[in-house]
Symmetry: C2
Subunit: 326 residues, 2 copies
């Protein structure tokens, strides 16, 4: 057996050392050709996969603990957007080398968030390669209760959770697009580094919301997916978009850019009948999470941005597309 205290661990050693724990909910966990899980009666299994690439989704020198958290958080966020309860996940990991200290931190950040949501690591693959993480998450959602993108109806309110744009504001500082004073930067940076998946909200919205998704590429683009799949349009009040006090102190065009096109906040955007307003307010109060009405679903196609006076917004940006031509 290789010396497991050496900086260069063997593939099998490192997986065992940092990522193998006994399965509690799964029938069979890490270590065989497949994991085995049991279907939950009356439920569908919700499945989502996301890949994070170094230099694209995170900086190459990112703190491994933050990276571990974020890689799982963005996947859990997809379960939240579906109203699913997390159950398990798999991890495929390409690493330029196998450094024990770095892996230990990565595992700690990931498994701490996993434990907080009862989400068990049941399988994976590790290989040498450019730093890349690919996770697949599994959750349970009662039959016919999933929050789908194609379920928005004309007249629905459009809601968003939390505040929008802080992750994009922090990213702009990292990129040198603008410079934030230190206290402001420290306040918004965790929104980029360690986003919070809105699992409790997603589950609470079962049977309440019509359509939902998580905002990963920017509100305009992501809301566009709901509109397209539901074959409806929307009127969005850009002045109603919830923003932190830090973002609210920025120049107006930057606020619009961050709230409308900034991805990576991983808040939920959902639509719900007008009759659910009190119910939704109560959910927000119970969760200690701001839930804000920002627009309305319209029968006619297209997304129209207006200001607080109902005039067309000056904003003219777009959402993030990994392959858009420059």
């Amino acid at each position: 057996m290789p010396d497991s205290s050496s900086a260069q661990l063997s593939e099998f050693d490192l997986i065992r050392r940092f990522f193998t724990r006994p399965a509690h909910k799964a029938v069979l966990g890490v270590g065989d050709d497949c994991a085995l899980i049991e279907g939950r009666p009356g439920h569908h299994l919700a499945i989502s996969t996301d890949m994070l690439v170094s230099g694209r989704h995170f900086f190459p020198d990112v703190a491994p603990r933050s990276l571990g958290h974020k890689a799982l958080a963005v996947n859990l966020s997809d379960l939240a957007a579906m109203g699913a309860e997390p159950r398990a996940f798999t991890l495929a990991l390409a690493l330029p080398d196998a450094q024990a200290a770095w892996l230990s931190e990565l595992a700690a950040g990931m498994l701490e968030l996993a434990d907080a949501h009862g989400c068990e690591l049941i399988g994976g693959d590790t290989t040498r390669g450019p730093l890349t993480l690919s996770l697949t998450v599994f959750g349970d959602v009662p039959v016919h209760k999933a929050l789908r993108r194609d379920a928005a109806r004309p007249g629905d309110d459009i809601w968003v959770s939390g505040t929008l744009g802080d992750a994009r504001l922090a990213l702009g500082d990292f990129r040198g697009e603008w410079l934030l004073p230190e206290p402001d930067f420290s306040q918004v940076r965790p929104r980029m580094d360690t986003p919070t998946p809105r699992i409790g909200l997603g589950m609470a919205l079962r049977g309440v919301a019509h359509a939902a998704l998580d905002i990963s590429d920017g509100l305009v683009g992501d809301l566009g997916h709901i509109l397209e799949r539901s074959q409806v349009g929307a009127l969005l009040d850009v002045d109603a978009l919830p923003r932190s006090t830090v973002l609210a102190s920025q120049p107006e065009p930057r606020q619009l850019e961050c709230t409308l096109a900034g991805g990576d906040d991983y808040e939920l955007c959902f639509t719900a009948p007008v009759g659910e307003r009190d119910h939704i307010a109560a959910i927000g109060a119970r969760l200690g999470l701001a839930l804000t009405r920002v627009g309305v679903i319209t029968p006619e196609a297209g997304l129209r941005l207006v200001d607080r006076d109902g005039n067309p917004s000056a904003y003219n940006g777009t959402s993030f597309d990994h392959f858009a031509s420059p």
Copy 2:
């Protein structure tokens, strides 16, 4: 909308164009935050994930159709090793750029194999990055019938399917370790480029075999996983290892290297009671697939390699480890 005939497609366009097809078996397929599938009564869901990195698992100039086939095949092979029936898969894809012709071929190779096994693409993620494919596959296996690694028992025969070592023989030619005459190379190359997952065999071995796995890193190392998890040992007859006529015409040391340490053949190695020999022979005849007894499980730990006369084998190699020190 961007012009979809342009060489540079948008992320959403390319996913839609090549990888989205209507879901038949899944409740909800590609296009929402999560896919939804229904548990099959009396079955467990088998889940496996594998990541393929350019330059490590395939050559950067690989034919995209072969790559599409292989990426799914190595994942399906894990289902086969568990005795599971394929049902669905997700694909996470990092690409340096989005070239329509290349993606079309990749999708064709992948979806042709998927269709052959009724395995539906239900979700995915696409991003720009170093060429990397990460798939997660899902299959159904009747409760308590999964072929686990920890189920080998002393006295079991050890079996392997097909022939071993051809993929490694082809790889050696690619790497310049040796040179094969053209007809030989053409014969073994498909074993490396387009391996066949032994799905039918895995399902036929339910209730027949004790332990099983697929040989991806080399027989010695992979059989070692069965021995470790089952807390048993094995006696392996290296002269009994099935090999193609092409490999059998190679020098003896190379034959041993390829059959014992060559990965990537994706044949199954399984153990079964002596009383199942006729049954297993009948399965092989029905499937038109050679099934060969190559050794026996022993109560004492350790893997001993012997030749046809029972003398210790001269072979002294090891299995493939992505992070082994040089």
